[in-house]
Symmetry: C2
């Protein structure tokens, strides 16, 4: 191993230009560096990273989120790439965002994390490709379809390389189309952050709202079939299938290709793990993994590896940091003071969860005794949404959505729903939703019930604050008419009314009928 | 009444210079305009205000508070004064803040609202004059002590004017010294705002924390004695004593002198209503009402009128807007859509309340199984603090403060307290306090329990979030040592640790002992 040398203006290391140290590994695969097969590259990259200081992670948990778009800027992650001569990846990624996802809420510019605006989120059961959320862990590689090939190795009978053309040939591999909801384990994380700050991961645990979820019809081949047909099956000791993506991942000073794994038991369910090239009848967008990604139904989105170039059959779960050290679910006693890889459990299948999308949080709703509520509900790993209940009073009384007001059941997709809830009360109310899945699982009651240091899986009953103005009440109707007569509007709610709310004579009359203090 | 004329560059109205329209009413009383005795002035002022547009109230409830000091700027209220040619009041007020209260948290620059910094708040039972909170409703008048006189009229046997010299003459009026906690009904309002936005009053309902409370020893004469000795007593039909202050108050386009009232039943308790000129052995600071103020024990601070120049005995509560239209406590069904003067009740005596001052909200506390908690507890209207209880678990288990760890009882003052609470648990905990007063009254459980549109009297159990790091736990002690060995610090809490938290071999050993998934 070479001794640590100073970084020569960031352009070379130990006298060797960066471009030669970390070359693009295959022709036609721009932005892909192979790390896992090159331990010496990994060592050199770590040494380079050690010589540099990087911008600290921005503090956005103890302070309000910026009101900008992009909301957060991934300085540190950009600098990691730049330090290794990989700035072109950063540039190509953002250009891809602007081309493929211009209208998103850009939660983090790099690695790109984009959230679906609420108006697009529940428009239809299927999310349009340009509105589907994106949670990337590295830059977007730019891979030519013709140059693409998939390697399968590890504990299989016959390691192989398969071209995309072969994979797409239906005479070789049977194809499947599956309607799949993919959800980031960070969905609704903002609620955990607002309650208590947690882990400030170097990649940034993005402050997602309810829009880190989306549904698409994916076309591809079941991984099980590929393993059987192309590799002659897996060896008996193989228990996990590892997916390696062409993106570069960083963790505590070390460099990796993105790697995760899923159990063989999941893969053998055929359509539950697809190698997919099509999303809603179109080629995968680059930002979603073009030309090929894994689609693991009902699991945390992180397992559906993008830009998938290698699959390894393993006896144990992947040791890649995304699998071993990330996406762990900790008990509340565990935090910065004591978390380890081995004391969290791995988030794979997703629990039942839901969200109210309309009305929006803190919305003023003027109504006549009923408020329409709309949202999504989902349960992972083949469980479907059975019942959705909405409470207009913080969780005391619950109303169930009618089947007619819910989209149809799918094994691997959400249901959208709406309900008109009776509301007599005025002022600030807390509306909440809870969902029951096919196994009778339901959601934790409060955010604290399931708060965890890594801020994953905010599956507690989703709560929104609604300011109810019930104009079926005479006093309210009178005030609304008064506001209109003054050429004013009810909102902004906090804006004071400029005129006297009560005539002094009326006030005195009331006060003499019901004095402010006892008479004796 | 003159026809509305355009404002001549803001310097005159209807051809008359503003300085002649609204002259200072007495020699040696700078910044005092008499409005209540001059209905024609009030009408003219209203007309002038109608000709102008004023800066809207700043929105600070739906968005994060500025991190500035002053936190909020009272543009509108300054403009009201300027429109009437009273800008010198604005200037003198701020000069007085800088002289008398330089170190405060300036919540609102005009009318001045200043909060005591936490480090000064519970240093001692008596709050130093320079650290006592201030909630003014208008500018600070600048009154010469020698020119000062107090008028008493209304339903008394003999209306009088009394000079300050006479009032202070112990051979004429018996004096009293009373230890009094004065509390703004806005104390801890920030908790109500953070839960739900409420009324955006034109004066600004300041976003107070726990520091809108303070305790001082006031010297003065009981109002009861003055009424008896100077006025020969009140008439039988007199039920309320109205206090009028020399500051100018605005409400919905009209102009007033500050006016409030308290019941005769309160006044006749002798030391419970003082006319005070001394605060902690010193002359009243100008910002606290020099040369004379009312001190109404156990009532909302708003009744302790400053720059008190007139007292009227009335048959009914004052019709001044501060008494009739402000400081009302509304039911939760009442809000912008339907509040009136007559459907809220008047806040006079203050209920039992308390606050945790240390640890601070969101503080990380590294400890060995016990955490010290400190704060204040108070109950109004002659009730004293009997018992203080602290819960380290959101309100499930409560520990009582020892009498030795509380300051002594007073009829009209708070008690400061401290307690060491056993804490085994780690991570984010919710600590809360509740107090029981001498009538066995205690506090509502949650902010929502008593949330009200005008955001007054946040007397629910005060809750703070504490991140507990219990270093008596071996894994925690190990991590803290590791952090020290790396030359790092535990805080900021959200900063990721830069090194691997677990050796891969240790991880694998654990994972083989307790596999991530069942073996069959």
């Amino acid at each position: 191993m070479a001794k640590v040398s100073p970084l020569d203006s960031g352009k070379s290391f130990g006298g060797i230009p960066l471009s030669q140290l970390f070359p693009e590994s295959k022709l036609g695969w721009r932005g892909y560096v192979e790390w896992e097969d090159h331990p010496e590259r990994k060592r050199t990259a770590s040494e380079i990273l050690k010589t540099k200081k990087f911008t600290p992670i921005p503090e956005f948990q103890f302070v309000p989120l910026p009101q900008t778009n992009p909301v957060l800027v991934g300085h540190r992650w950009k600098e990691y790439h730049e330090a290794l001569g990989l700035k072109s990846i950063v540039d190509f990624s953002w250009a891809t965002v602007l081309k493929e996802k211009p209208g998103m809420i850009h939660l983090l510019d790099f690695p790109y994390n984009g959230e679906t605006p609420r108006s697009e989120l529940i428009k239809a059961k299927i999310t349009d490709n340009k509105w589907h959320f994106v949670r990337n862990h590295g830059g977007v590689p730019d891979i030519d379809e013709g140059a693409y090939e998939l390697e399968i190795g590890g504990l299989v009978n016959k390691p192989v390389k398969i071209s995309l053309k072969e994979l797409k040939d239906p005479s070789k591999f049977p194809q499947a189309e599956v309607t799949v909801t993919i959800q980031c384990s960070g969905t609704r994380r903002i609620e955990q952050i607002q309650l208590y700050p947690g882990d400030g991961d170097e990649l940034i645990n993005a402050p997602w709202g309810e829009g880190a979820i989306g549904t698409a019809v994916y076309r591809g081949v079941p991984l099980k079939k590929v393993l059987k047909i192309a590799c002659g099956g897996i060896l008996p000791e193989a228990k996990h299938l590892e997916f390696i993506g062409a993106d570069t991942y960083f963790k505590k000073g070390n460099v990796y290709n993105y790697a995760v794994s899923v159990p063989w038991r999941k893969v053998r369910q055929n359509e539950e793990v697809l190698l997919a090239w099509e999303m809603n009848g179109k080629p995968l967008p680059k930002i979603h993994g073009f030309p090929l990604r894994a689609v693991v139904t009902g699991y945390i989105g992180a397992r559906s590896a993008k830009w998938l170039y290698k699959i390894n059959a393993l006896a144990e779960p992947s040791l890649g940091p995304v699998q071993a050290a990330e996406y762990l679910y900790y008990n509340q006693q565990l935090g910065k003071q004591n978390v380890k890889m081995s004391n969290g459990f791995s988030i794979q299948g997703m629990p039942v969860s839901s969200a109210i999308i309309f009305p929006l949080d803190k919305q003023v709703v003027i109504h006549e005794g009923e408020i329409e509520v709309k949202g999504w509900s989902y349960s992972g790993d083949g469980n479907w949404v059975q019942r959705v209940e909405v409470s207009p009073d913080g969780g005391h009384v619950w109303y169930a959505c009618a089947e007619e007001d819910m989209t149809e059941k799918h094994y691997h997709a959400w249901r959208l729903w709406s309900i008109r809830v009776p509301v007599n009360a005025q002022g600030w109310l807390e509306f909440c939703v809870r969902t029951w899945d096919s196994n009778n699982n339901t959601e934790p009651t409060f955010v604290r019930s399931a708060w965890n240091w890594d801020l994953h899986v905010t599956s507690s009953c989703h709560r929104v604050k609604i300011y109810s103005v019930n104009k079926s009440k005479p006093e309210t109707a009178k005030r609304l008419a008064e506001i209109e007569a003054h050429g004013e509007t009810f909102e902004p709610l906090t804006r004071p009314l400029e005129w006297e709310l009560e005539d002094t004579q009326e006030y005195l009359q009331q006060m003499r009928k019901h004095p402010r203090e006892p008479l004796d």
